[in-house]
Symmetry: C2
Subunit: 220 residues, 2 copies
DNA sequence: GGTTATCTGGACTCATAAGTCTAGTAATTG
DNA sequence: CAATTACTAGACTTATGAGTCCAGATAACC
């Protein structure tokens, strides 16, 4: 038995490892297929055999890289969250006007929040919530919490400009996310809305912008 | 094999049934224990043996009353929805003022929406969504859709009074529900908030009332 | 080449759970 | 009473899936 952790020991050159080295490409293949399968079919709905098969790898190899299903799932969640929360969310803002920028931000986040992967992720967390909310914490911190921070920064910018009048920035950012989800996210979660239309997204964005500006737009 | 349906045939006296009659109390016991277990542990997490045991009934009896697990679950969901959506939601309104009544309504619905049973129901639907969104439809029509109607009636009353200025009543009712859920419902769903405090409910209600009145309160 | 460790493929154990079957018992009608 | 249907208790079948084990192949190091 050797260490099972996927991470290498300290960056010093680990030349003196005797046998055949781990195939890191297989490691990635496993996490990737796990990530797709867990999102598609949930924790219970995904078998380790399926993961191995989809990764083009033997089952034993899966277990030699990851101690158990739970560990693999948490790594898969980490990957998925990173994969689908773009760091470039609030960059190349064109600084037109509050309303234009707000609409752009809302549009970006609406697509993120209402998209297939976001809904699948939420459902995965629900189905595996009893087994340990560790998954949920990983997700929450890297996903929604990160987004929350970006939204606060965005709002603060326009508060400083005098275009927004907000007491509690944190609460306002929460409201923005809540409004963008609307009832659509829930409907998708419970399987009553298979696909989301472009119009539906646009409508959510427009409603959100309208409401938000009405609430917090500074009356000049 | 006799009919498996739990409902009696047309109310005509069905005297001429030969053998031992179904024990309706057992039927109820089964649905009730199923309802509790499905909400507690989800569809996959609940076994037919558990249900039988908790109902104090043999497994065969369960199968003689309900064709399969799916059927039993849908009946259990119907029961749970009826059980937890009070028909007396908007009665004995005291007609004080818009704000007081709105607060009362929000308080009532917030407790409903954020309570253990509501969250458990949502999670049950998520976990069994792949298996057939029939469950979700049953729930949606008897639960949120019914509530939506009541909210619209409530809003319409105050529109007629001239105290609210709303174009799209339906959308406003949706907004109310969305605001009341806030992020709390989601947090509870994914297991990051085990219990909900009285303060949390109050805060959601107050925020919702404030926002809603700011948006739709008629400027006299 | 020898050693060590990984990878493969498949057989294997073990547990859980849906649904069936059976033999016996209880309740109701005729 | 006999016939009929419901209920019980438990054994049973079947399927699924997590995790293990093993024999042989492969890839690195010395």
């Amino acid at each position: 038995m050797t260490a099972i952790s996927a991470e290498n020991p300290p960056k010093s050159k680990q030349k003196s490892v005797r046998g055949r080295p781990r195939d890191t490409s297989k490691n990635k293949a496993i996490i990737h297929s796990a990530s797709r399968l867990f999102l598609e079919k949930g924790f219970d709905g995904t078998s380790m055999d399926d993961i191995a098969k989809r990764a083009g790898v033997s089952k034993q190899t899966v277990y030699s890289h990851f101690a158990c299903k739970e560990v693999l799932c948490s790594e898969a969640i980490s990957l998925a969250v990173k994969r689908y929360s773009p760091d470039t969310a609030l960059e190349n803002m064109e600084e037109h006007s509050l309303e234009a920028d707000l609409r752009a931000v809302c549009d970006k986040f609406a697509r993120l929040l209402l998209g297939d992967d976001s809904v699948a992720m939420a459902n995965l967390l629900v189905t595996s919530a009893p087994k340990g909310s560790e998954f949920a914490k990983i997700y929450w911190n890297a996903g929604p919490q990160a987004m929350h921070g970006k939204l606060k920064d965005f709002l603060q910018h326009w508060i400083d400009q005098g275009a927004l009048s907000i007491d509690d920035t944190s609460k306002a950012a929460d409201l923005l996310a809540t409004l963008l989800k609307g009832k659509v996210h829930f409907l998708r979660s419970i399987g009553l809305m298979d696909t989301i239309s472009e119009e539906q997204i646009q409508e959510n964005v427009e409603d959100t912008v309208t409401i938000f500006l009405k609430l917090y737009g500074a009356k000049i």
